[in-house]
Amino acid sequence: MIAFENLTKIYNVKGVKKVILDDASYRFADRQNVALMGHNGAGKSTMMRMIAGIELPTSGRVRRTEKVSWPMGFARGFNGLMTGVENVRFVSRVYGCNTDHVLEQVQEFAELGKSLNLPIETYSSGMKARLAFGLSLAISFECYLIDEITAVGDRRFKKKSEQALKDKIKNARVVMISHSEKTIKDYCDAGVFAYGSKLYHYDDVNELLKDYRKFC
């Protein structure tokens, strides 16, 4: 279960106050793949970080009973001075996984070859994304948080990622941010629309997309 309870999130950066959520209570439908949509700056990524537990709400709470991934699709948690292998080892240790097993899977998926033994700072952004994606697939989660993942990698890798992700969500689910209607239709069963600091639930993705077109 993932649920927001009376959750308020307010950003106060340099005197500019921004209300992301105002006393919102919302329960993400269990075992469903949920699309999270809204206009740019509506706070979708912030909500995702709150679901992951990286960011704290201003008030209210996030209830989380499943094993949730970090927001996939950005490689921020890597240390540039450490090699790919060291970074992978570190993350699997933190998650309490078998490091060799995870490393093997990442090696197979990311196809980085010998580059895996080089410091991350020598990687291109595409290589970093491959590593990050491979790593999040290698660690088993019950809920994958995906923030615009499909924009990553070359054509062949995109295809491979799509397939791998589809395999994964047979036994897990996703909460996904995307502006691509095709991606949303492909993956999601239900949706939530962030608008005016409130959240609106949709059981039907087509309804969500209709409103998305109307308001964004």
């Binding site: 992951a52 990286i54 890597f78 240390n79 570190f90």
Partner: protein
């Protein structure tokens, strides 16, 4: 409950390994230098004192006398400075939900404490082997003093980390406080031989108390007029509690 403790241990262990890698690089020589740096600094001071013909202020061994202060002060300094940057340089790690900011402090603490445990062991046993020191009179006191230094360094370091994250100018202010410690911590002298006016000021320095504690632990006939165990211990515990409390209540605003 048990799960969350186990999780915390796992996270801190992973972070410690990572810190080790970041601090010492890939080569083993990195670790070698870290261990031998304080040893070189003590040797340098011994040579200097020997050349100008000065006697050890207490006991016969200059090396032992300096080491009791230098190793304590070095441990404290390493902790307070390295913990100061723990939050800012580990910011990217916070994208993993189970890693909380205090974990980065615990990781640095365990790495530095382990390193200094090795340094102390090597140095003191080295001195004993070459006959520049005898076996400590009260080994348990050395352990208490070491742990108190860790606690104090951790408390000050954690407060430094919070203030430095708030405003990076704190590093300059911190230096102003840290710089004179070398002269205030009894590296070259025993406080009992200082004029009472000086002692009245010096005794506010918690490091001096810990140095005196270490010396009482090492020398069988060292009697400190200054040492009050409750002072460094109470101060350290108080600072740790304040730091952890402030860290927790300001976490939302800082991240």
């Amino acid at each position: 409950m048990f799960y969350s403790i186990w999780l915390q241990i796992r996270v801190v262990a992973a972070l410690t390994l990572r810190e080790t890698r970041m601090t010492f690089g890939t080569s083993h020589s990195g670790y070698f230098w870290a261990i031998f740096q304080p040893i070189f600094s003590v040797s340098f001071m011994v040579t200097l004192f020997y050349l100008i013909g000065r006697q050890s202020p207490f006991g016969t061994s200059l090396a032992l006398f300096f080491a009791t202060a230098v190793l304590t002060l070095d441990l404290y300094n390493k902790l307070s400075v390295s913990l100061m940057r723990a939050f800012t340089s580990n910011k990217s790690l916070l994208s993993y939900p189970m890693i909380k900011e205090p974990d980065t402090l615990f990781a640095r603490l365990s790495l530095i404490a382990c390193t200094f445990l090795v340094i102390n062991t090597i140095f003191y046993s080295g001195l004993m082997v070459v006959g520049l020191a005898h076996f400590p009179a009260h080994p348990e006191m050395l352990i208490y003093a070491f742990l108190t230094t860790c606690l104090l360094g951790f408390g000050v370091g954690a407060i430094n980390a919070i203030l430095y994250q708030k405003n990076q100018a704190w590093q300059h202010v911190e230096k102003i406080f840290a710089r004179p410690l070398f002269f205030l911590s009894g590296v070259f002298y025993i406080p009992s031989s200082m004029p009472p006016e000086a002692v009245a000021v010096l005794k506010w320095n918690p490091i001096l108390h810990i140095v005196e504690w270490t010396r009482e632990g090492f020398y069988s006939n060292y009697r400190s007029d200054v040492l009050n165990i409750a002072y460094p211990l109470g101060l350290a515990a108080g600072l740790v509690i304040i730091a952890m409390f402030v860290e927790r209540i300001t976490r939302k605003q800082r991240v």
